[in-house]
């Protein structure tokens, strides 16, 4: 067993880290709250760099990489609150498997695709729809693709591009796609959890920095066990989240039997871990953590929304339980 990434993957992640720190970040996320628009770095750059087509096969114009590499990039994207989500890109790649013509349109950026949940005519709130030209949805048992009308509400996290969609004039992209739809959703869950991992890790770093330097009653607040232990618990959880994310991402390509449990585990664990880390940060920062000016709420917003996207904690915990029990039977 070798449960670690290799040097090439480390370098790749480092490269992604640099890119996202230059082309996304909290300033961009903050600006979106006042002025709606496409999140940074945006679809065009992600397409150009090949990040959004990482899991699209080479013969369809993509990079043909494994999901684990996508997860490593997503972690760095999450750290900078980047958008649109690579979870959407990964989900599209799975849904259009075998439709190389359409995948090529995606890989080259000719169409900007988001996936909508719920009814195609009046979808549930879905991610990355504000920057999309085309939408994928499940209509009965078939996968359909087409344009649609997007309605945007008041977003808690403006980087997620959440809205509802009414599709019209859709064509059938694939017949009998229910199983593929499930798999695509779990792949997206894995990548969303990877983004949450990167964001949560940044959040704990911010909490540690502040706890080391801020003094009260004559000593750093990080020396008080009530503060220290809360931060440690978050750090431990993030370290464990990394294990689940890597495992799920690896299993997507190498262990299809275990993948559904791994993906749901990563998504559920991320929901709680990321949210708790953000709540710790806001609290440890004291009054400044509650201000609009500080970055803390930008991560907090992401956590509060991500935990509900692609199925909440309850949904995924229940899936883990049901799948584990059915393995016994």
């Amino acid at each position: 067993m070798n449960f670690d990434i290799d040097d090439e993957q480390r370098n790749f992640a480092q490269h992604a880290r640099k890119f996202f720190s230059e082309h996304a970040g909290t300033a961009a996320a903050r600006a979106l709250l006042d002025e709606p628009g496409e999140p940074s770095p945006g679809r065009e750059l992600l397409t150009e760099l090949g990040f959004s087509s990482l899991t699209i096969p080479e013969e369809a114009g993509g990079v043909g990489s494994e999901l684990l590499n996508m997860a490593l990039v997503a972690e760095q994207a999450g750290r900078q609150l980047a958008g649109p989500s690579l979870a959407t890109a990964a989900r599209v790649a799975v849904l259009l498997e075998g439709r190389n013509d359409l995948l090529e349109d995606v890989a080259t950026g000719r169409i900007a695709v988001a996936v909508v949940d719920g009814s195609p005519e009046a979808s549930a709130p879905s991610m990355d729809v504000t920057s999309a030209s085309h939408f994928l949805a499940l209509d009965g048992d078939d996968l359909i693709l087409g344009p649609g009308t997007v309605s945007v509400g008041e977003p808690i996290d403006a980087t997620r591009g959440v809205g509802t969609v009414g599709m019209h004039l859709a064509e059938t992209a694939r017949v009998g796609s229910a199983a593929q739809w499930e798999k695509a959703k779990l792949v997206a869950c894995t990548i969303l959890a990877a983004e949450g991992l990167g964001a949560a890790e940044r959040v704990v770093e911010l909490a540690i920095e502040h706890a080391k330097s801020r003094e009260t009653f004559g000593r750093p607040i990080g020396s008080y066990q009530s503060v220290k232990h809360r931060i440690v618990d978050d750090w431990v959880a993030i370290n464990q989240l990394r294990s689940l994310v890597w495992w799920a991402a690896w299993a997507a390509d190498h262990d299809p039997g275990k993948f559904p449990i791994a993906a749901s585990a990563a998504k559920a664990y991320c929901a709680a871990t990321f949210e708790t880390a953000c709540e710790t940060l806001v609290h440890v920062l004291g009054g400044i953590g509650f201000t609009w000016e500080h970055d803390a709420h930008l991560y907090w917003r992401r956590a509060k929304v991500d935990r509900l996207l692609l199925g909440d904690e309850t949904e995924h915990l229940t899936l883990v339980a049901r799948r584990s029990l059915s393995n016994v039977a």
Binding site: N2, L68, S324
Partner: protein, 407 residues
């Protein structure tokens, strides 16, 4: 990244699996590493289990061959651990010796000590215990007061130890005692091997809240130890003890192994019990089960990452403390859910159809959260040594309390 066996590992796995199947009747089994039925003492059959495994080369695989080990790799050991787990073989009864005393002797003992002790320790011919905690020093171990005073080639030991697991069955122990009361508290300690049959050693089992007698209090009245039984240098016992403690945190949860009841036992239990719940309770039970299983998977796969590091040659660092923290949390949640799934019978120590595992585990987990570093001490270790957060208060530079509080 790769979770599959190499062809060589696969061959080895088959060998181990075949052996465990063929010798099933000579081995004890169970649903958790040290989960024992109340009122049943199977220490002798557990010793036999360890001996059978040792004779087959499955215990001490990574230990040096000249002392009875197998000179094997950590990767092979991982295969063995997985197969033992798969076959539900009971955890080795000599776990204190294997996890803590043995590694300490290998690191700090003389050639003569290694020759005399290691092989018998691996085979559970001798059970070992660890005489560290005292009534006045638990988490603050370095404040211990048991004295060792040099008399020629021997040391005279006077003091008291407590929470000593397996002492009543032990032939030997490793003993941390104060040899220099003038020095700062971490500086005046020395480690010894103590013969538990020596005159002046009195062992009194303590009954715990789970009804078992796993640990003991020990009185040491003028016990004489040869200087040749010293482990490491005089007054260097703290450094020696750190070897022990680091191995302990790896042994208890750090390597991703489960403590408490196995998650597959919980799944099997839930498969029977959950469908019997009233319909309106089932959604909550599914969610609760999912939560325990996810925590368990998170801890297990984090252990695999740590294990990979060790297979690549890293030594267990303070990060291993996180594994113990999370393993305890999983054990607690597993016992609690397993018990609640018994429904009305959850108020009994044993359900009416004889299931004692959940109530026993429920009453055992509180001890694991204390043993081998309390949750709070482990969080301090992680916060200060891994995350770089400042200590609670400046560490005392005062000499040890041994002198002023002499008994």
């Amino acid at each position: 990244m790769d979770f599959e066996d190499t062809p060589e590992q696969e061959r080895f796995r088959t060998e181990v699996r075949t052996f465990l199947a063929e010798h099933e009747t000579e081995l004890d089994h169970g649903d958790g590493a040290y989960l024992e039925e109340p009122g049943i003492d199977r220490i002798n059959s557990l010793r036999k289990t360890q001996a059978v495994l040792f004779d087959a080369g499955l215990i001490g695989l990574t230990w040096p061959r000249e002392y009875g080990g197998g000179d094997g790799t950590n990767a092979q050991q991982a295969v063995v651990n997985e197969e033992l787990h798969r076959a539900r073989v009971a955890g080795p009864v000599g776990h204190v010796g294997l996890g803590m005393c043995g590694p300490t002797i290998l690191a700090h003992g003389s050639e003569d000590q290694k020759q005399r002790y290691i092989r018998r320790l691996l085979r559970a011919d001798d059970i070992w215990c660890q005489l560290f905690s005292e009534p006045g020093s638990g988490s603050d171990l370095a404040a211990l007061r048991t004295k060792a005073v040099r008399e020629g080639d021997r040391w005279r030991i006077q003091g008291q130890k407590v929470w000593t697991t397996l002492a009543q069955h032990s032939r030997y122990g490793i003993l941390l005692a104060r040899t220099n009361p003038e020095a700062r508290k971490h500086r005046g300690l020395t480690m010894f091997v103590i013969d538990m049959a020596a005159p002046g050693v009195t062992v009194r089992p303590l009954r715990q809240m789970n009804g078992h007698e796993s640990f003991n209090e020990i009185f040491l009245d003028d016990v004489m130890i040869d200087d040749a039984e010293r482990l490491g240098d005089i007054d260097d016992g703290w450094r020696v003890a750190l070897t022990t403690l680091m191995n302990e945190r790896m042994a208890v949860g750090g390597g991703g192994g489960e403590i408490g009841i196995r998650s597959d036992a919980l799944i099997a239990h839930a498969a029977v019990r959950l469908p019997q719940l009233p319909a309106e309770r089932r959604p909550l039970a599914y969610e609760a089960l999912g939560r325990v299983l996810v925590e368990s998977l998170a801890a297990r796969y984090t252990g695999y990452r740590l294990q990979t590091g060790i297979e690549k040659g890293a030594s267990p660092g303070p990060e291993a403390s996180a594994g113990k923290l999370t393993a305890v949390r999983v054990a607690h949640a597993t016992a609690d859910l397993g018990l609640r799934l018994l429904g009305e019978d959850a108020v009994f120590s044993r359900s009416r159809d004889g299931d004692w595992r959940w109530a026993t585990s429920q009453a055992s987990v509180p001890g694991i959260a204390i043993a081998g570093g309390t949750d709070e001490v482990l969080r301090n270790v992680l916060g200060e040594r891994v995350l770089g957060l400042p200590p609670d208060k400046p560490r005392s530079q005062e000499p040890a309390t041994a002198k002023t509080n002499d008994r």
